[in-house]
């Protein structure tokens, strides 16, 4: 069964057609890559799924439920988590508190419980601390738990965003250029982390410009150009698709 089904999504900004009738499915438990030249509308597709933008037409069905028009935090609650292309961490807070923000939607204690420190509230705080530390450990940032987010290196900030997204206990995680700004070694570690995420039963959809990474870990690729899907299939097929080669290179050079 497909975990995510995008059906005829279209989004315009003013006169610009950013996403044009995009439809594709993401199978449960898979790692899917969304690729395409700059400005093809990849991030816009992400924003349509996560409720940051509302499509003009079309549906984004998650787990049998159309999430179009829902508020972003409700969508996160349903089990869709994301990272941002332009890193959006809580800069003045430390790594641990950044991850704790992801735990928020799985917690219950409110204002009164917090003021009066009820037994339940204390137990919950203890529990999420464990969970947040576990997620930090998962991405390899456990030792940096008390470092302020904007003091971390670029690559580590990307990992911290992933940890924060994982803390929301998602079924489906959307990574927007996770390897952006990473060096080779960091990218290698990232590949392991993404595979480990899938092994936890979380379905992954990612945008990435690093083709070697995409070819290595994605089982399925969707290629976008000028807001429309021009090809779809496994990496081997995509690599040899003439339309994709042309979209990427505008010529006959073989870079893939």
């Amino acid at each position: 069964m497909s975990l995510v089904e995008l059906k005829n999504l279209t989004k315009t900004f003013g006169g610009l057609l950013a996403v044009n009738d995009v439809s594709f499915n993401v199978e449960e438990g898979s790692i899917v890559g969304l690729i395409g030249p700059n400005g093809a509308g990849k991030t816009t597709v992400f924003n349509l799924i996560t409720g940051n933008y509302i499509p003009d037409t079309g549906e984004a069905v998650f787990n049998g439920k159309n999430v179009v028009g829902m508020q972003t935090h409700r969508i996160v609650n349903l089990g869709i988590a994301r990272t941002f292309q332009t890193i959006r961490l809580f800069k003045s807070l430390n790594a641990l508190e950044n991850v704790l923000s992801g735990c928020h939607c799985r917690m219950k204690s409110g204002v009164f419980a917090s003021m009066f420190r009820t037994r339940k509230q204390r137990a919950e705080e203890k529990h999420v601390l464990e969970k947040a530390m576990a997620e930090l450990e998962f991405v390899g940032l456990k030792d940096q738990w008390d470092i302020q987010a904007d003091s971390l290196s670029y690559g580590k900030q990307r990992l911290l965003e992933i940890a924060r997204a994982l803390a929301t206990e998602p079924k489906f995680i959307i990574l927007d250029e996770p390897a952006g700004g990473m060096n080779d070694q960091e990218t290698q570690e990232l590949i392991d982390i993404i595979k480990a995420i899938r092994d936890r039963g979380i379905t992954v959809l990612l945008i990435e410009h690093d083709m070697s990474l995409v070819m290595k870990i994605c089982e399925h690729l969707v290629v976008l150009e000028y807001g429309a899907v021009i090809a779809e299939g496994d990496p081997e097929t995509i690599k040899n698709d003439p339309r994709v080669i042309e979209a990427y290179l505008g010529a006959d050079d073989d870079l893939l």
Binding site: L93, E97, H104, G110, V111, E124, M133, D146
Partner: protein, 322 residues
């Protein structure tokens, strides 16, 4: 160990402070009372402005609604003043909810302007004697003194214990609130609201709750204010009161309880110490605000990072290493 030492220092300081009415005359005790009132008001504003980063410039409106609620209930229906406190808070809270709801999504500077507008509309409404309840420009007089355990509170030192007792409770509760899921959520929103929403936080809900708590508390301070002054009139709740509170939070340190307390002492207390420059105090505060933004944006005493006990997550690893 460190924490315990700090706690002891805090308690010792509080104990010394609690003795101050014994050595101060009525005038200076009253100055401390004013500082206390502003401190509580600024702490309640701090939830909205300091913790959540919402530029609320109309806090005097909530304060006014609390004070008028108590004054009306007390003078017209003879309800003992302190009994009206919860209702004063609730009405101010409901008002906060109603006005904040449509404007909560506005960007910082727009929100600032709108809240200024709201506090002015409230003041104009009070002057125009809405519903014949508020006494117009003269306000309401003959408000009873608060009674606590059969004791009538009327002398400055008695008010000192009432006000600073309430302030202590406020600090205690707000400190806990700050170190909780709720407090963290407000900080996430302040830092980056798009990321907060993307992390699953219902940002409008939390902004509204921040407004309601701030308004509720300001309303309760209104009750004490009414009992202390015995007369309240619209001019007690002008735009300038809001500016003063705003300045206390910004100069003291947004989101920092100790910063807000320091701010209240500096901004309300200093002009009393240097009486010669009292008329120039706002001039100096204005210049200080500009200088603060340029040289020390975070305020005099910025918030300390929250403490988390994570030692248990490391003990095992260290054991393996050794």
């Amino acid at each position: 160990m460190m924490i315990r030492k700090q706690d002891i220092l805090c308690l010792a300081g509080a104990a010394v402070f609690a003795c101050s009415p014994l050595v101060l005359d009525a005038y200076w005790t009253d100055v401390l009372n004013n500082i206390g009132l502003y401190a509580i008001l600024a702490l309640s504003l701090n939830i909205i402005l300091g913790q959540c980063g919402l530029f609320q410039m109309g806090h005097a409106a909530f304060f006014a609604i609390g004070a008028y609620t108590s004054a009306i209930l007390n003078t017209m229906f003879d309800i003992p003043l302190l009994w009206t406190m919860p209702l004063a808070g609730i009405l101010a809270g409901i008002f906060g909810l109603i006005v904040a709801r449509p404007i909560i999504h506005l960007r910082g500077d727009y929100l600032l302007i709108v809240t200024i507008g709201i506090v002015e509309i409230i003041r104009i409404a009070l002057i125009n004697d809405v519903g014949g309840l508020t006494g117009g420009a003269n306000g309401i007089f003959g408000i009873d003194r608060p009674m606590l355990f059969g004791l009538k509170i009327k002398r400055p030192y008695q008010f000192f214990y009432l006000i600073w007792g309430f302030c202590a409770v406020t600090i205690f509760l707000f400190h806990r609130l700050e170190n909780s899921r709720f407090g963290r959520a407000l900080n996430y929103i302040k830092d980056d609201d798009v990321a907060a929403e993307g992390s699953g936080i219902d940002i409008s809900k939390y902004k509204l709750i921040a407004f309601v708590i701030g308004a509720f508390w300001a309303g309760m301070v209104g009750t004490i204010f009414a009992g202390k002054m015995k007369i309240i009139s619209p001019e007690s709740f002008s735009f300038w009161e809001s500016v003063l509170l705003f300045t206390i939070v910004i100069l003291g340190g947004m989101g920092s309880i100790r910063g807000v307390l320091l701010g209240a002492f500096l901004i309300i207390g200093l002009p009393e110490v240097f009486r010669d420059f009292a008329s120039a105090r706002m001039l100096i505060f204005g210049a200080a605000m500009v200088a603060m933004m340029i040289f020390r944006t975070q305020g005099l005493l910025p918030p300390l990072p929250r403490k988390y006990d994570v030692s248990r997550f490391f003990s095992k690893a260290e054991g393996e290493q050794s």
